[in-house]
């Protein structure tokens, strides 16, 4: 039986009808047509599907879409403001933190949630948290560099504001 639900993604409301067994990752991609969220392993191991739900980074393949009704969902499509890249996206470019790009949306959403935390993570915590997601081609060194650089850039701006 399908359930009519409303998902709020990047501030936009999407009215969809879904079977309860559809995961949030699938519904974001196939019903809401936001294909920036990638799906790799589909059982919680790779992190490619990471999105932000009510402020927390979560594996979208381990949440059923019906569970996310009423929540504020953010995906990689919501990061850039028009042609202005988000500081994390800019840092990923500048530091060559992506190669094939398959894992990138997951890393970006994971890092966005981490850097927006009221208590920004220490270097060690950042490194530990970034081990949550798998990147099989770029390697982690540049990803960690990029996230640290973005962290500096973001906190410098918010400090100046």
């Amino acid at each position: 039986m399908k359930h009519p639900i409303t998902l709020t993604i990047n501030g936009h409301r999407h009215e969809v009808e879904v079977e309860p067994r559809r995961t949030l990752a699938d519904v974001i991609r196939e019903e809401c047509r936001l294909t920036g969220t990638h799906v790799g392993c589909e059982h919680g191991v790779c992190g490619a599907c990471t999105v932000i739900v009510d402020g927390d980074p979560v594996r979208a393949c381990l949440v059923f879409a019906v569970q996310a009704e009423g929540a504020q969902i953010r995906t990689v499509e919501g990061l850039a403001q028009g042609s202005q890249l988000h500081p994390l996206q800019q840092a990923f470019m500048d530091h060559h933190a992506l190669q094939c790009g398959f894992c990138t949306p997951g890393f970006l959403m994971l890092s966005t949630a981490l850097l927006e935390r009221p208590d920004p993570p220490s270097d060690a915590e950042l490194q530990e948290a970034l081990s949550s997601n798998l990147c099989r081609c770029t390697g982690y060194k540049n990803i960690v560099l990029a996230v640290r650089a973005a962290s500096k850039a973001m906190h410098a701006t918010s400090g100046a504001a």
């Binding site: 067994r21 559809r22 980074p57 569970q67 948290a129």
Partner: protein
């Protein structure tokens, strides 16, 4: 792969959840808490529940509190003191910072850092881990070693089960199909209690191949009431009486820890798994117990 079709229920109160659970239990109706173990096992079709009762919209289940220990069945001998009460929706991430002052809060924070990865800890729950009863679950080891009391409720009433009777094997517990684990209670140790944890896994965030949790009090410089728990090795977490007996009354020292660790390695009966011969697991147990004791001591 996708899970089989199921009916979804999102009750707003505990009573409503228990009523639905009672009704759907015969059709393999189950609770979904964090979903971090259930959703993957459904995707692989290892389990095919006909109904899911989602407890995430029930207010108050994420409560963490301290209360006086009430002597009750099955713990009429419960020592007076205070217990930490962990509600059904308390997530792993709640323990990223100590939830109580003293050694227990510090221990739980250390242990939480070993569970899966950051985003999984945002949703997975303490009680869900106990209900799932993976032999390599860190929280199951905590519950077993610290003799947690598990509160099970259904429309038929409430009962409290000791951790010893709760874990019955690989992914099996004393929870009846119509019951929900509503909270776990752990007695707070004395302020001076020594606690230590160690785990071995191949990569950070992977399930442990062996882990150990120890705690003891120091009375006149000697070990008193030691607890030594080991997990990830047998089908469920276990206390090692032989190691505890060796420690009782001793002045903490490396050779004492080493003897207890050897006793633990000899006492366990490791699950035979491909590429994990029992002899290797015993060696891991020995080093985990020794390291946990050293951490408790320094």
């Amino acid at each position: 792969m996708r899970s089989v079709a199921f009916q979804y229920h999102a009750p707003r109160s505990l009573d409503e959840a228990l009523a639905i659970l009672a009704e759907v239990a015969p059709e393999d109706g189950r609770i979904i808490a964090g979903g971090q173990s259930l959703v993957p096992t459904m995707a692989f079709r290892f389990v095919r529940p006909g109904h899911l009762v989602d407890i995430n919209r029930i207010a108050g289940l994420d409560r963490l509190s301290e209360q006086p220990v009430v002597a009750s069945v099955p713990a009429p001998d419960a020592a007076p003191g205070t217990e930490l009460v962990i509600g059904a929706l308390v997530r792993h991430a709640a323990f990223h910072r100590p939830v109580v002052a003293g050694p227990l809060g510090r221990l739980l924070t250390e242990v939480a850092g070993h569970i899966a990865h950051y985003p999984i800890r945002m949703r997975g729950t303490f009680c869900g881990s106990l209900a799932h009863a993976d032999p390599a679950s860190e929280w199951c080891l905590v519950a077993s070693t610290l003799d947690a009391r598990l509160v099970l409720r259904s429309v038929r009433g409430e009962r409290i089960v000791r951790a010893d009777d709760f874990f019955t094997g690989v992914m099996s517990t004393a929870i009846e199909p119509d019951e929900m684990l509503v909270e776990a209670r752990i007695t707070l140790p004395s302020a001076g209690a020594r606690m230590g944890f160690d785990e071995f896994s191949r990569r950070r965030g992977d399930f442990a191949l062996a882990m150990a949790l120890v705690s003891f009090d120091l009375v006149d410089g000697r070990i008193h009431s030691p607890r030594v728990g080991v997990s990830g090795v047998e089908d469920r977490p276990c206390r090692i009486a032989q190691a505890e007996a060796l420690l009782e009354g001793c002045v903490p020292a490396i050779d004492v820890f080493q003897a207890a660790a050897r006793a633990a390695a000899a006492a366990v009966d490791p699950l035979e798994q491909p590429q994990l011969p029992a002899i290797y697991r015993r060696e891991l147990v020995e080093s985990s117990v020794r390291r946990a004791l050293e951490r408790a001591w320094v």
